[in-house]
Amino acid sequence: MEKTWEIDAANTVKARFGAFGRKLVTVNGTEVHDTRKAGKKGGIAFPLPDGRRAAISVKGQLVGGPEIDLRVDGGLVVETPKAPIRCAACDTAAKPYDRFCGKCGQAMPTAEDYRAKKYVRHATGAIKWLAVLFLAFGVLMYFVTKGQADAALVKLQGAEPGASYTVGDETLGVEELRARLEWEPKGVLVVNLILAAIMAVLAWWGRRAPLPAVLIATAVYVVVIVFNAIADPATIGQGVIMKIIIIAFLAKGIKAALALRAANA
């Protein structure tokens, strides 16, 4: 993995993260750090040719890959992307270190803004994934539940018309139980289709208004977890890592979208 930061017109820092934890850092093509030689752990500090202090930090994240930052005199530097940076107002190409567009004077996003945008992208991506997951889970569970309900309905065929059955704390007659069993697979499908539709709408809305969309998606997802836990407390532990990852993406997205709103206000 290679990362490049154009700090200003005269200074470019490149960091290469190779196999077996090797980290090679160059400033304007001159090597300033190589873990193979230095063997240092943690942040990589080095001076720039003009005397400013620079430091690269690598922070592991709960979700996603590590966050690699370059700070110069404490200020976060915008990473040079593969595609050229363009002004959002006039589409003029700009340098990563430009604070304002040279053509229209519009303020360019800061490194913090780019990071917030990344988190928001992750969060809206998680909403899309949830839409797909609810859809796939609904279809899968429809067939699983239908198989179980059909087997129970076959057993119910021989039951006395006046017989009653206890389901949870309810006592149901044969006809009531039959109706309940017939509804069960449809119910699973309908509930998951509703959730998939909600997430799909939120993913679409999230392109225009990420903060409300991510906020609602988080609430819906947490409520679904709680709803399932009430119905069957054993579900709390099922897929707990996946649940934590999705909630972490969404929660980070909320904070990042709020920061972006404040920056753009």
């Binding site: 304002f100 053509k103 949870g168 704390d169 109706a179 119910g187 709680v226 836990a229």
Partner: protein
């Protein structure tokens, strides 16, 4: 290396050819240097706004989280206890939570407790539209029931325990209407209006209201209810019409179950 075409008179940064504004400080090139380059002030204002909005949002999330937690506990308890007591206790705890949240924001919410003159014609329009809305909602639920969708009974545990009808009216109809309106159209909608525009705040409170009913099957219908109660609050600038219509809907559900 970009082509240097001069220097910014304000920040002395080298500038590229063809630029009209300094990319470093935003100074209009060719104009007299500004007294203070823009940027720093805007950033600190953004940080202050972020802190204020984040504090407001945390308040909303706390309230929503606490109400969700009480629903979760009540749901778990009602798995083993079929008496009406879990329902009564959760109503009381929710009421306490909402009252504390509203008390912390009482100065901002005081306008919702005043009756504002909106004109007889507009009041009649809202009343007629509310009636139509309730009829549409009851029709929607009747269609779902005819399709075989099972709904849990709100009054069954009360009836089984032999509690009188007025306890159901108070616990299922009146108190939830008062405190849900105070929570969602009061605290939450007002807090969200400080972060978002009125339309987004309206949509979000309705979504939170619908999902807190903990049943995906009623998400769409309760989202519409949240929208309507929020609309009433915005049109009347008061929380009372929403409480009235919400209470009427809850009472209709209770009476329908008792009659059936």
């Amino acid at each position: 290396m970009p082509e240097a075409a001069g220097q910014c008179p304000a920040c002395l940064r080298g500038i590229r050819a063809g630029t009209r504004f300094c990319p470093g400080c935003g100074q209009t090139l060719g104009a007299a240097p500004a007294a203070a380059p823009p940027g720093g002030g805007a950033r600190s204002a953004a940080a202050a706004q972020f802190a204020e909005h984040w504090g407001e949002l945390k308040g909303v999330l706390w309230l929503f989280g606490l109400l969700l937690a009480t629903s979760f506990v009540a749901g778990l308890v009602s798995r083993t206890d079929s008496s009406p007591w879990p329902s009564v206790v959760v109503t009381a705890v929710d009421a306490a939570i909402v009252l504390v949240a509203a008390g912390l924001r009482r100065r901002r919410l005081v306008f919702l407790f005043k009756v504002h003159a909106i004109g007889a014609r507009r009041a009649l329009e809202l009343a007629a539209a509310s009636l139509l809305f309730l009829v549409a909602m009851s029709g929607y639920f009747a269609v779902l029931k005819n399709l075989g969708v099972p709904f849990s009974s709100a009054t069954e545990s009360f009836a089984r325990a032999g509690w009188p009808a007025w306890t159901m009216i108070v616990t299922i109809s009146v108190l939830p209407a008062l405190f849900e309106e105070l929570a969602f159209r009061g605290v939450i909608q007002s807090s969200l209006e400080r972060i978002f525009n009125a339309r987004d705040a309206w949509l979000i409170q309705a979504a939170l209201f619908s999902v807190l009913h903990l049943s995906p099957l009623v998400f769409p219908s309760h989202f519409l209810m949240g929208l309507w109660f929020g609309h009433l609050r915005m049109r009347s600038r008061s929380i009372y019409p929403g409480m009235l219509v919400h209470g009427a809907w809850n009472a209709f559900v209770v009476l329908e179950e008792l009659a059936g």
